[in-house]
């Protein structure tokens, strides 16, 4: 369970995360939605111990993140950030191998190697494994980062806008993979998504944020209502039923 209790984060006068209390970890896949600047990335940073809260407490699997050694947390929690720029010339294989660092501390065991192979296989990166990251397309690179997080083999996985840079087919592939991570490997994935239709299709629960607060938190189907989406995004959204599934129409 990831639990935030009355967590607040301010930047100067601006309160970016405002007294948020929420728990993640019951459902396999949770989608976090909300307009730009709602505080989604900051929420992830607070959980991922990159930003210290001004108030409140964060626990991951019962461990208080301010008191637990970072190396311990790295075995239960993996966070993939929104914009990843790795300047170092590393190959896909190097990157995935470093995902094992919390477990291997640099000495790979047979088990580590199995995890590396599985992650590369899951993301279909076999043909690219010896390519340098700067020789990949944006989508391939994004898959390499996800493979790294997968190799880290943590119960909790936080993905911040993992569908950036991906074409339609790869977006679907990543969401299918996220589902498999939850259903086959028992992981708890929380992912920031901008496309509410993807969120509705692939997640069990949708959490909506706005202005630093959680404004809606319910099973996907209940979020997919015009009045809820309009309140979250401050814009008109039509929702139609297509083949028994709610589909949001917001193209103008």
């Amino acid at each position: 369970m990831i639990a935030l209790e009355n967590v607040t984060k301010r930047y100067g006068a601006q309160t970016v995360v405002d007294d948020v209390s929420i728990r993640f970890g019951q459902e396999g896949v949770t989608a976090l939605i909300g307009p730009n600047g709602a505080g989604k990335t900051t929420l992830f940073s607070l959980v991922g111990r990159l930003v210290r809260p001004d108030a409140g407490r964060v626990t991951v699997g019962g461990l208080d993140i301010t008191r637990t050694p970072s190396a311990e947390l790295a075995k239960v929690l993996a966070v993939l950030r929104q914009d990843n720029h790795v300047a170092a010339r590393l190959t896909v294989h190097d990157l995935v191998e470093f995902g094992r660092f919390p477990h291997s501390r640099g000495r790979l065991t047979v088990e580590d190697r199995e995890h590396i192979e599985r992650a590369i296989g899951y993301l279909d990166l076999g043909p690219f494994r010896h390519r340098f990251l700067d020789e990949l397309s944006g989508g391939q690179r994004q898959r390499a980062f996800i493979a790294m997080v997968l190799a880290q083999d943590t119960k909790y996985v936080l993905l911040d806008e993992p569908l950036n840079n991906l074409d339609l087919r790869h977006m679907t592939e990543i969401m299918r993979l996220v589902r498999r991570m939850a259903d086959e490997l028992g992981k708890r994935v929380i992912t920031v998504l901008h496309d509410v239709n993807f969120a509705a299709t692939w997640s069990d629960r949708i959490v909506a944020m706005r202005d630093g607060a959680v404004v809606a938190d319910a099973p996907a189907r209940e979020i997919m209502r015009p009045e809820v989406l309009a309140a979250v995004y401050d814009t008109d959204v039509d929702v139609r039923e297509i083949d028994g599934r709610p589909v949001a129409l917001y193209y103008g």
């Binding site: 991922g48 590393l90 470093f98 660092f101 640099g106 010896h130 020789e135 790869h170």
Partner: protein
Amino acid sequence: MTALDRPLTSTPALPRPTRRTWVGVLVGVLLAVLAVTSLFVGVSDVSPVSVLRGGADGDAAFLLVASRIPRTVAVVLVGASLGIAGLILQMLVRNKFVEPSTTGVTEFATLGALVTMVFFPGMAVLGKMGVAAAFGLLGTWVFLRVVRVVPVRQLVLVPLVGIMLGGVVAAVTTFVAYRLDLLQSLQQWSQGSFATVMQGRYEFLWIAGLMVVVAWVAADRFSVIGMGEEFATNLGLDHRRVVAVGMVIVAVITAAVLVTAGIVPFLGLVVPNVVSLIIGDNVRRAIPWVAGLGAVLILACDLLARVVRMPYEIPLSVIVGAVGAVLFLWLLLRRGSRAH
């Protein structure tokens, strides 16, 4: 995501591992050949024949043990460790254009050496090195503080800031040396030369060698640090501690080289960049390459310094500076010509 994702067509003709093996063998052979040549090149006649003819007590054998072997070992240690100092600093700063002499570290260490000249003129070399290392550490710290405000992706701005920082410190050093009439001796030893390296006067360089071992042991941590603080934290690494270890490695190597061989510019910058092109930046994989190539490059430069104006020696910094600048330019142009 299966059938559509074939590798792009630009796969190199030779599979990478094969090509790497060949380059690796080449570097190894060059290293051996140059090291042996270095033993037998100089003003006095020391050749395998003369050593054998003179026997263990002959002049040639004496020169070999007292001067040529120490010099060759010193050159190899300097080349290897300077390359590693550059590599580690580049991972800490996440910038390929930094090395001790483009970050002010060398200048700080030089100031430290001057301080020992002024206040403790009789100090043993080891003490001098310690003070220089402490100043180098301070320099690394100052530099890391200053570049924190420079965006990581401003690639060229970072070394520019470092060079300016070094310029200020160097100016202070020069001014103090000038007022105290130490300018000439300062210039003399900072110019860089292995001519004075002899038995009993180079052994501190093993401390630099030790730092290479430390870097190798912590290699994966430096690779992860090179991916940025966010990745490092996610993987459970104590970012500050790894940075601190890296700073010590850089400062100690810089100081050890400075007090034994003077300022050797560019090497720490050029070598890791060349290696990066061949095998990338995974530190564990890069370390033997950087060490080997650094040694090869500086062995070649030192040989040139000895033979160009025989029987005189050209300052090493002149040769390394010229060779390094050309290589650096080539790297810059190459980088610019790449698509991204």
